[in-house]
């Protein structure tokens, strides 16, 4: 339904926005030059001039919205108090822990579901990714082709992939149930059975997440000096001993940030739980989908803002503890 006229209007709007952004960036540079170089003769003026557009962009795209959301979290903004909400202090933060955040589910059970979701996915991402990386880290014919095929899930836009998977979980027309019925088994109610729906979410996300882990760990494996393996070979070490004593410890500097990133992305994954959980089962919701529903389906904007900051605080605490516990980012690979 996109007509040439619609495209022209869109290009005109986008083009003018880009023009204003470029003009604004140029203006900022000119002002900084006049002030920092010509007037103050500041030593690091050039560095500031290079960073300035990014700093301004980050401020308007991240800092300002965060501050606005923080302010929102202290108000009672909802449909009845939409344009002029009242300040209610910490009430929303208290409500996050004392009232259902969905229709019936409270915060801690939802947190538990999110943790289970994250742990299951990370386990299979790391296990599957490492297994595939080790298989690919050998000289063999067609390695490039295998690597390309295995990376394909990562290349497909996530929403498209998730919607395609959802179609395959359809009770009547989905391929999984067609296969099950073909071999004489009962079809599964992927969308309405809580356990089956959660499994469908995990299957989809594991398929999507393995390529990233595989590529990252493959890079780590290729950076391990082969002399270690040669020395181990000479000492008669078994495959498992080589893995335990050489591969795993030397992979830690790569594995730790990969697991950390994977944890954040999985913990905050919206697309898979939201689209696979088509029937809005509360048993399949995680924190971020609960947050979306609170904001945009239940119109509890102030409450949702407080909820978002609670989730942020959780992840921040996790990050601090994980980095201190593993110490691997300090380069202490051997435990």
């Amino acid at each position: 339904m996109i007509t040439p006229q619609t495209m022209l209007v869109s290009l005109k709007e986008v083009g003018s926005t880009v023009l204003y952004l470029l003009a604004a960036a140029a203006l900022i540079e000119v002002i900084l030059y006049l002030v920092l170089v010509k007037w103050l003769k500041y030593k690091y003026a050039f560095a500031f001039m290079l960073m300035a557009p990014a700093i301004v962009g980050l401020f308007f795209l991240i800092i300002y919205p965060l501050l606005w959301e923080l302010r929102l979290s202290f108000t009672n903004m909802s449909l009845r108090a939409f344009r002029d909400p009242d300040f209610i202090g910490l009430t929303n933060y208290i409500k996050v822990f004392t009232e259902p955040v969905l229709k019936q589910k409270y915060f801690f059970p939802l947190l538990g579901q999110t943790v289970v979701w994250t742990v299951i996915n990370i386990f299979f991402h790391v296990t599957g990714g490492l297994a595939l990386a080790m298989l690919l880290n050998r000289n063999m014919k067609g390695r490039g082709i295998y690597r390309t095929i295995l990376i394909l899930p990562w290349a497909i836009p996530q929403v498209i992939a998730v919607l395609a998977w959802r179609g395959e979980f359809n009770y009547t027309y989905g391929y999984f149930n067609v296969l099950l019925q073909a071999i004489g088994l009962q079809p599964i109610q992927w969308m309405t059975n809580p356990t089956a729906n959660f499994a469908a979410m995990c299957i989809t996300n594991i398929w999507l997440g393995i390529p990233f882990m595989m590529v990252t760990l493959l890079g780590g494996l290729q950076s391990i000096n082969s002399e270690y393996y040669e020395a181990a070979e000479m000492d008669g070490a078994s495959g498992w001993q080589k893995f335990k004593s050489i591969t795993y410890p030397l992979l830690q500097p790569v594995l730790t940030p990969a697991v950390l990133l994977g944890t954040f992305w999985t913990f905050n994954n919206f697309n898979v739980p939201f689209f696979i959980n088509q029937n809005e089962l509360e048993s399949s919701d995680i924190l971020v989908t609960g947050l979306f529903r609170a904001a945009f389906q239940y119109n509890r904007y102030g409450f949702a803002a407080a909820f978002a900051f609670v989730i942020f605080a959780l992840l921040l605490i996790f990050t601090i503890f994980y980095m201190r516990y593993t110490k691997t980012l300090k380069g202490d690979a051997q435990s």
Partner: protein
């Protein structure tokens, strides 16, 4: 060197100031640059609704070249959410084509404007206008079609005669199951498709005051138990079906009947021809006729729209609902018109499908448009699904729905 930078700074500031006078993303002023109307519609492609809306917009632009449309389809709930979000960002579309139950949230949040002074509402069917009136008498939408109600649609090749009551529905269903046909399909994910049965069991979602939820009643439990039993005990419905699956099964001849809305009539009529039957949803034995919600489809206008753009929007609304276009809508989409004068057109009076649709409307009940209805939908949905999934008893589901609705209303 210094002078050239100064000149560049002045030139850039001047560019920004001049550019700020014509901000991107907003409709341009008329005459020289034309008006762009962003029209968000709930009409989808499957039943031809979106194509019809686009054709209307194109026809209007052909007569008024300075007014162009950007027609965007969003499903009903997405349209509501996105309109609220866009309004918060002061960037709403210029016109909505949507359902009446959006009235509650939009008026509570002060996002739309009344239309009493903009169009002659006396030209429309009174029941259609009443569907978007608030208690103070203000009217918040211009009717496009009347009805938007559910009915029992059946394939005469598989089921020559529709069941008159629920006992007949079950008996006929047993014969169809033996023949390998699914007797009945319905969207099992949305409570809108469940509420007609409440009328059959003589209950409603609100008390007499129209805002206090009454979801935990013996009648509600009976209605939930009924839909559970016809699915699991009598096997009339598939284990899972959303709107798309139900629609596909009916179109492919895998299901003998579907409970669906007037928006689907056009497509089914084209596909089945004279084999399409329309009847009221079967009467509940020991109760009464199920009462689907009736409302319609309406234009709604954002609160802050004014000036030449508002004039163009009003002119388009009048154009879209004139006699010629209303009759064309009946022909193409098989929906009851909102314009009173169109009801007398032979295309309506002589059409058995429209007659069936109109008959179902006589058993219908106006859909509540208060903001509290949002809470009822949100509360009923998971509980109804739990009963359909056999994971919760009807008694527990009704109690949980009532508690959720009360809590939601308290938080509004």
């Amino acid at each position: 060197m210094k002078k050239s930078y100064l000149f560049l700074a002045i030139a850039l500031i001047a560019t920004l100031v001049l550019g700020a006078c014509a901000q991107p993303g907003t409709p341009q002023e008329p005459a020289d640059e034309g008006i762009v109307i962003n029209l968000w519609t709930k009409e989808g492609e499957t039943d031809g609704g979106l194509q019809y809306v686009q054709a209307l917009a194109d026809a209007y632009t052909a007569q008024n070249p300075n007014v162009t449309f950007v027609v965007v389809n969003k499903d009903v709930e997405t349209l509501r959410e996105d309109f609220q979000t866009a309004s918060l960002a002061d960037a709403p579309p210029e016109l909505l084509w949507t359902v009446s139950d959006h009235l509650g949230p939009f008026t509570a949040a002060d996002l739309i404007q009344p239309v009493d002074s903009l169009v002659d509402l006396g030209a429309y069917v009174p029941s259609a206008v009443d569907a978007v009136k608030d208690p103070s008498g203000a009217t918040w939408g211009v009717p496009i079609s009347n009805g938007n109600h559910l009915m029992y649609l059946y394939n005469k090749d598989l089921q020559p005669v529709p069941p008159a009551n629920t006992d007949e529905l079950i008996a006929m269903g047993a014969d169809l199951i033996d023949a390998g046909i699914t007797p009945l399909v319905v969207n099992q994910t949305e409570p809108f498709f469940f509420v007609p049965w409440l009328g059959g069991f003589e209950t409603e979602v609100f008390a007499a005051d129209g805002v206090t939820p009454t979801l935990d009643t013996p009648e509600m439990v009976a209605a939930l138990q009924f839909v559970h039993d016809i699915k699991f005990n009598d096997g009339l419905m598939p284990l899972e079906s959303d709107g798309d699956v139900a629609d596909t099964m009916f179109k492919e001849g895998q299901a003998a009947a579907i409970i669906n809305g007037d928006w689907s009539l056009g497509t089914y009529k084209e596909l089945f021809g004279d084999s399409l039957g329309v009847a009221p949803i079967p009467e509940v034995v020991g109760g009464t006729w199920p009462a689907p919600y009736t409302s319609g489809v309406f234009f709604m206008i954002p609160k802050d729209l004014s000036g030449p753009t508002l004039d163009a929007v009003v002119d388009f609304m009048v154009f879209a609902t004139n006699l010629e276009n209303q009759v064309e809508m009946v022909e193409k989409l098989t929906r009851l018109p909102a314009l009173a004068a169109a009801l007398d057109d032979p295309i309506i009076t002589a059409d058995p499908i429209l007659a069936g649709s109109a008959e179902q409307m006589t058993y219908g009940t106006p859909m509540p448009t208060v903001l509290e209805m949002r809470c009822v939908w949100d509360a009923l949905k998971p509980e109804m699904q739990a009963v359909f999934n056999d994971t919760k008893s009807a008694t527990d589901a009704a109690a949980a729905a009532q508690a959720a609705a009360v809590a939601c209303i308290a938080n509004q």
